[in-house]
């Protein structure tokens, strides 16, 4: 973990700089990567996400341009109040122009409010809630990588199609888990399946899911839908295997990251169906990006959240240069409007676009976790099962209830 400490310290040193009066000749854009540096999402986002922003600055060739970029980062500790406080301070005191990442739905929503109040640019890549582009959308917010709607649509629909017609939901008892349950249940039913039961597990702090799993088993359902994330998912999958549930039920992890699979190990995770919008070994462009990125994180491969930070930083730089650095710094909402009008194109997500509600549109991929035999080396974990095209992957523009969308 030398990497993470170095990155964090470097970022900290960078953030100490503004205390010295800036004498820079070039105009400077300031990125704030607000992420989880100490909690359950530090592996899937964290220091590597900060490095991903750095990678975007290098790939864009900022060094040879007429402006400079400074990146600072902070730990939101998965607490909405801490995250909103940092965002507020970045806007008030530190002159941050764009806030990136923000894994954790609760923090993600809180920061959206601040970005609007302070008229900054906010591109979220780590949060799951589809409310960011729905009821809580605003003119300063873009949601890049994925959301609960996209995950449920891809995973639930395909599992029902392949015969998993009756579901039992294991739901982490908080906003994110409930949103996932709501979205997933509606897709199961839309595809002709049935949800026969569900159980809410206290969050956080549940480490032993065995008793909830017993309830799932006694329900007689064919599929166990895991409406949880991070450590909860890891523990519930491990224990499902232990109790022999995997022999009678199929597991559908509605939100599983590459790092979760790494943590579970292929022996346990094999066969799991997972939806992601980026995988490092997906195509030539993603492989090229991952190789470029390797020196920054030699022991791991980037997750879709980290890739999202890279892609969104790149698109922001493109937009800011197109509209002029001074203009971009002045008005966050105008910059976001311009970002929406320009097509997106990067190595991680390919060609895409950003909708009026702030939703970034790209294909969603359904993967299956390989068995230990199939895997050829470290981080060779997924095989592609299906692709949902960009225009079908996300919630229709007029269905989210976003006030920015005129009927």
């Amino acid at each position: 973990m030398k990497l993470s400490r170095r990155t964090v310290l470097g970022a900290a040193a960078a953030s100490a700089l503004p205390l010295v009066p800036a004498r820079a000749q070039k105009p400077t854009l300031k990125f704030g990567v607000l992420t989880d540096l100490s909690g359950p999402y530090q592996d899937l986002a964290g220091p590597v996400a900060v490095a991903a922003a750095q990678q975007a600055v290098e790939d864009y060739g900022v060094a040879g341009k007429g402006f400079a970029v400074e990146i600072i980062s902070a730990d939101h500790q998965n607490k909405p109040d801490v995250g909103a406080g940092i965002a507020r301070q970045w806007a008030d005191r530190d002159g941050v122009d764009v806030i990136l990442e923000v894994a954790n739905s609760a923090v993600g929503l809180a920061v959206a409010g601040v970005a609007k109040d302070k008229n900054k640019v906010y591109v979220n890549s780590g949060a799951a809630t589809s409310d960011l582009t729905g009821s809580a959308c605003n003119a300063n917010t873009i949601h890049w990588v994925y959301d609960t709607y996209m995950l449920s649509r891809s995973t639930a629909t395909s599992v029902v199609k392949t015969g998993g017609t009756s579901w039992f939901m294991l739901v982490a008892d908080y906003a994110f888990g409930q949103a996932l349950q709501r979205d997933a249940s509606s897709f199961v039913e839309a595809a002709g399946g049935k949800v026969v039961g569900s159980v809410k597990t206290p969050f956080p702090g549940t480490t032993d899911f065995s008793s909830f799993l017993l309830q799932a088993q006694s329900s007689g359902a064919k599929v166990l839908g895991l409406c949880n994330a991070g450590a909860d998912t890891i523990n519930s999958i491990k224990q499902a295997k232990e109790f022999g549930i995997t022999s009678s039920m199929q597991l559908a992890g509605l939100l599983v990251f590459l790092t979760d699979v790494h943590s579970l190990g292929l022996e346990v995770a094999q066969g799991l169906a997972i939806t992601e919008s980026f995988y490092w070994d997906l195509n030539d462009r993603t492989r090229a990006f991952s190789e470029r990125f390797k020196p920054k994180a030699p022991t791991r491969r980037p997750t879709m959240v980290q890739a999202g930070v890279y892609a969104s930083a790149l698109h922001y730089l493109k937009t800011a240069e197109a509209m002029g650095i001074a203009e971009a710094k002045k008005d966050g909402a105008a910059t976001v409007a311009k970002m929406k009008s320009l097509p997106t194109d990067d190595d991680c997500f390919g060609k895409g676009s950003i909708r009026a509600d702030g939703r970034c549109i790209h294909p969603a991929y359904l993967f299956q976790v390989k068995s230990p035999k199939e895997s050829k080396g470290p981080w060779d974990y997924y095989k592609l099962l299906a692709t949902t095209p960009a225009d079908e992957a996300f919630r229709p523009l007029n269905a989210g209830g976003c006030p920015l969308v005129k009927a």
Binding site: V8, A11, A74, D75, D81, G85, R88, G113, A175
Partner: protein, 310 residues
Amino acid sequence: MLGFSRAQSAAFLVMLALIVAAPFTLYPVFLMKLLCFALFACAFNLLIGYVGLLSFGHAAYFGMGSYIAAWTAKTWHLTPELAIIAGGLTGAALGTVFGWLAIRRQGIYFAMITLALAQMNYFFCLQAPFTGGEDGIQQVPRGALFGILPLDNDMTMYAVVAVIFLAGFLLIHRVVHSPFGQVLKAIRENEPRAISLGYRTDNYKLLAFILSAGLAGIAGGAKALVFGIATLTDVHFAMSGEVVLMTLVGGMGTVFGPVVGALITNSMEYYLAQFGSWVTITQGAIFVACVLLFRRGVIGEIAAKLRISL
């Protein structure tokens, strides 16, 4: 002046001057947070410093105050002063129940019981619909003081928070130096003797507990309005640990200790925030250092050096 000794009066004037001058040079939002925590720590100190009761679950009252203030301000559109008062009353009500249960046991059992009760309250807040669970209550409006003076400007809000802090601070000081406060100190020094002198010590302890919980609720309510958000952070047991740390660092049983302790721990968090878990590690190290090396805390040690009481 107000029952202050000469040294205390001088220190109070310095504090007052700093409170007035600080927002012109420092970030007002940070200062407001600081004042809320300082009040919280003063309220906690009333118990540990003057009654000798270590409550390891004070986040329950702080956090409930914060939730209720945020909820009433957002849903009922109460004016900020009423919302904060509602927060304080909630803290006091919860303190009445929890205090009544906890004072059945002494010492470390008291600490463990308050911790367990606070944890129960945490799970309640996690599941109760009105708290918004993990999201918390977001976008809480600051509103207009008495329905007249809008508080959206940070400087105006700062003035209100400063007044709340000073009122709470002086109230605690007044209580501690009242006959009631003398009985509390007698309980701290020797409870059986206080009982044999004819004091119903349980009643005194409970009253002090309620007062402390109520002030913690007010501090929580003020914090919720400052940041426009009330979340699980405020009821989590890490918050209980933090307030213990503030009081311990500053000096238990001193008047100004909790304020200085809040200043130290909050500044530390402010500067260490980028370093991930180092905040936790540093907090732990400070706990260990305080317990082993300077149990009287910063203010307590200074006061002992100068042979004055602060």
